[in-house]
Point group: C2
Chain length 487, copies 2
């Protein structure tokens, strides 16, 4: 009998081509070990609540009340909920005809799109149009929608930073397009060099690739750098000159751990450049409730905002969004709350401030503990995490370790990360999953791994000690003491 449509051999090839390291071999092995009873520290995904971060109280109170609107008439309600949470729940219920159980417009609730537009206007100093804001089930879904619209065939190329967050490589594969890498400079704290960009585009064009869009991740994932305003201006100019759509992944905009380079949105930079650039460059910006000090990953709340897109295209994006009818509604209430947190004078203001500051300050301290910890390890160097939620140390593996990996039929960094997992329970993502610069002088020995900075602060010293012990013993085991490096 011939093969069936859902036999592996006959599946859509683009589906098979997808690689997604964040939940790849390491994650699967970690899940197995966890089932066997081993304590696993899941640092493979930026999933703060899974590592013990408590949700912010006020937004949870509001959404709980929206889920149970019948409580709003209960005389005992005030014993469990503060007045401003009750008022806010009534506000969102008034925006959601039929409540949380009704499909919203496929772009999300109009009232919340308006709140997002107001937030963007306050943030950037330029007005924003709710009609150009679509709410999505997390930022990833929005990115996938836009790539679907842009990619027509395998000759369509998307510029993606390397190292990159594998959402991009995976979605480009799934849509049958071509990933055009541009390399971030580790030695310049993962900075972006526009000459480098130009070279990538030239090389791709020489291969017949039609480069159509450029992705930036700011703050960077997995690399943690924050882009300066000057750098953003160069990028926007480059997109203008090269006629590229700019896709700005800004989901970590609240996660900043230094004061020299605050977050600046690509949109603010674009609009500040004036015409013709400000009127011409097509920009789509992404944000979410999953990151920041919210970390509400499981609620799936995100949005994207479109700048300089023709209305006919916006209509097409709307049409495709309408196939799945509606993003989830509760996640969109969180989005409304994120862009409109309690204000000074509100009953819940102080508590909310206390909770959110505590999370951000602790993340900042953890970023330091982790960078310092990695830098104290043998053969490991690590840039400071300026923003986002990740540490991305460089690890120089001795030739003997690489031979051992070959024998075990593993990529060297996968080999290292698996050993780390088995020895310590720390579940990381091998750097190869994010892409690696080719042709680097010592690239055959230099690898990376990504870990989040999210384990609880009080556990951090022990985790870093456990990492150091594993790493230094690993290096001891595989290093050639005759000294290859001394030659």
């Amino acid at each position: 009998m011939s093969s069936k449509a859902l036999d592996y051999e006959s599946l859509n090839e683009n589906v098979k081509k997808v690689a997604y390291a964040v939940r790849g071999e390491l994650y699967l092995r970690a899940s197995e070990l966890q089932k066997e009873g081993k304590k696993i520290i899941f640092t493979n995904v930026g999933n703060p609540h899974a590592l013990g971060q408590k949700p912010l109280t006020f937004p949870r109170q509001v959404v709980a009340l929206c889920q149970a609107p019948f409580l709003l008439d209960d005389p005992n309600l005030g014993l469990l909920f503060p007045g401003d949470a009750i008022a806010r729940a009534k506000h969102y219920l008034s925006l959601a005809l039929g409540g949380l159980g009704a499909y919203s417009d496929s772009r999300g609730l109009p009232g919340i799109r308006k709140e997002v537009a107001d937030f963007i206007a306050r943030r950037d100093g330029y007005p924003s149009d709710p009609e150009l804001i679509f709410l999505t089930d997390g930022a990833s879904k929005g990115v996938m929608q836009m790539l679907k619209a842009i990619i027509r065939n395998q000759k369509d190329g998307i510029l993606v930073p390397v190292p990159q967050y594998p959402l991009y490589s995976a979605s480009i594969s799934l849509n049958g397009g071509s990933l055009v890498p541009y390399y971030l400079e580790e030695s310049a704290n993962w900075g972006l060099d526009v000459n480098n960009l130009r070279q990538s585009v030239l090389q791709a064009r020489a291969k017949g690739i039609n480069v159509r869009a450029m992705v930036i991740i700011n703050p960077g994932n997995p690399t943690g750098q924050c882009l300066s305003e000057a750098n953003l201006r160069e990028i926007v100019e480059f997109c203008f000159t090269e006629n590229l759509v700019l896709l700005a992944d800004e989901v970590y905009q609240q996660n900043i751990y230094q004061d020299e380079r605050p977050f600046i949105s690509a949109r603010k930079v674009l609009l500040g450049m004036g015409p013709p650039i400000s009127k011409e460059v097509q920009l789509v910006s992404f944000h979410t409730v999953s990151k920041g000090y919210w970390g509400e990953c499981g609620q799936r709340g995100g949005y994207f905002e479109m700048t300089n897109l023709p209305s006919q295209t916006v209509d097409e994006i709307y049409k495709v969004a309408s196939i799945s009818l509606s993003p989830n509604v509760p996640g969109k209430i969180f989005l409304g709350l994120m862009v409109n947190p309690p204000k000074p004078g509100d009953i819940s203001y102080l508590k909310f401030e206390l909770e959110s500051k505590a999370i951000l300050n602790s993340l900042r301290r953890r970023a330091h503990i982790m960078t310092d910890g990695f830098n104290s390890c043998r053969n490991v160097v690590c840039n400071f995490t300026e923003g986002a939620m990740y540490s991305f140390p460089q690890i120089c593996l001795p030739p003997k370790a690489i031979e051992a990996a070959k024998k075990a039929r593993k990529v060297p960094d996968v080999f290292y990360c698996l050993k780390l997992l088995e020895a310590t329970g720390i579940s990381t993502v091998p750097g190869s999953g994010f892409g690696q610069k080719e042709g680097n002088v010592c690239s055959s020995y230099v690898f990376h791994l990504r870990t989040t900075i999210l384990p609880a602060e009080e556990d951090m010293p022990e985790i870093m000690a456990s990492f150091k012990k594993f790493n230094d013993e690993f290096m001891e085991q595989y290093e050639d003491h005759k000294g290859y490096s001394r030659m």
Copy 2:
């Protein structure tokens, strides 16, 4: 300057090809009229809460508590929540490491997948494996995932019932495949004739189409019929003989309004047929919390179950699901509650039974009111809604109305539905959005529209009277009193 990647002309053609009538021209016009202050009755989408259906109390209590776990320690909790809702919230929180704010496994929470498997086993009498159940953000997302895996190029065909729910035509377009229609027989209460099916496959193959899968919607959308066991056996046999994957859209399995044909799952029929068929036919079944007496559309909770798929394929589906990391978690708690409602003896049992029975019984009455109402109108006939949430009356338009539509540059049924909307505020979907049998003797005069049976029962008589008044006046206006039909 050459066109930009997000200019309309240069978008992915598959995106442009998509048609999605449920939120098409009629919906957009209705939204405009609503903004202008007109009262609109949105019957274009099966969205019960938007039309006033109240959510079931118990599941909302449980999910509200899961959102606000800090309340579980409050001494006043018992004043607002019953003990079994508190216990159930604790149960789901124990299944969700990190609570609702954490990404779950990309297939959904393992504990809830287990509860779904137990439900399926009880329903069908055959064990079900949680590893073959994936939780999704609504059933539509699952359907789109499976079609993505099956469709490789435009020569890959999917058999779809016509009239069909446009999710299928839209997703097939988006993935660049071919829709192969098979026609339901209106004169046989929208029954499915296997000879018809065979003919559709032969015709498609003659055009070089590789027919790979078959969709059934049971109970039918928009047609409302329930498939008999005998009919389901024929379908499964057909899929076996023709080597087709069977995609069973069973989202309306709780919405049954007659006693002659209860819901039977495709899986139960398949497994009951014994080998080789029961071991060979690849089946994917879909279900949701959006329909039934739940109607929790906005929460986006669904699942699909895979039968006879090789594990390598299941791994590929898992990998693709992992790109967007996790379905929303709160919607999945609703799914757990749907497959495990309160049991006799539980504190909330009687209230839950009362609420759910009231909804189902009212839907059954509304199905009758609507069918009878349509059948009392001039030039309108309508099959009874055996199941699902829709009425799909046939409307015979006089030639003059068709000329008037042509003059207005509208498809005749769109013309009729727009007039209906302007006159009465009733927002329906023109039948052409669901596909129409070609070559019908009188097909140039015979049209349909879809309306949900969801408006509040007390409003139903007025709505049907308003429809009848509009329709009969419309017919009066356009009918040729010299009598074309008497010739």
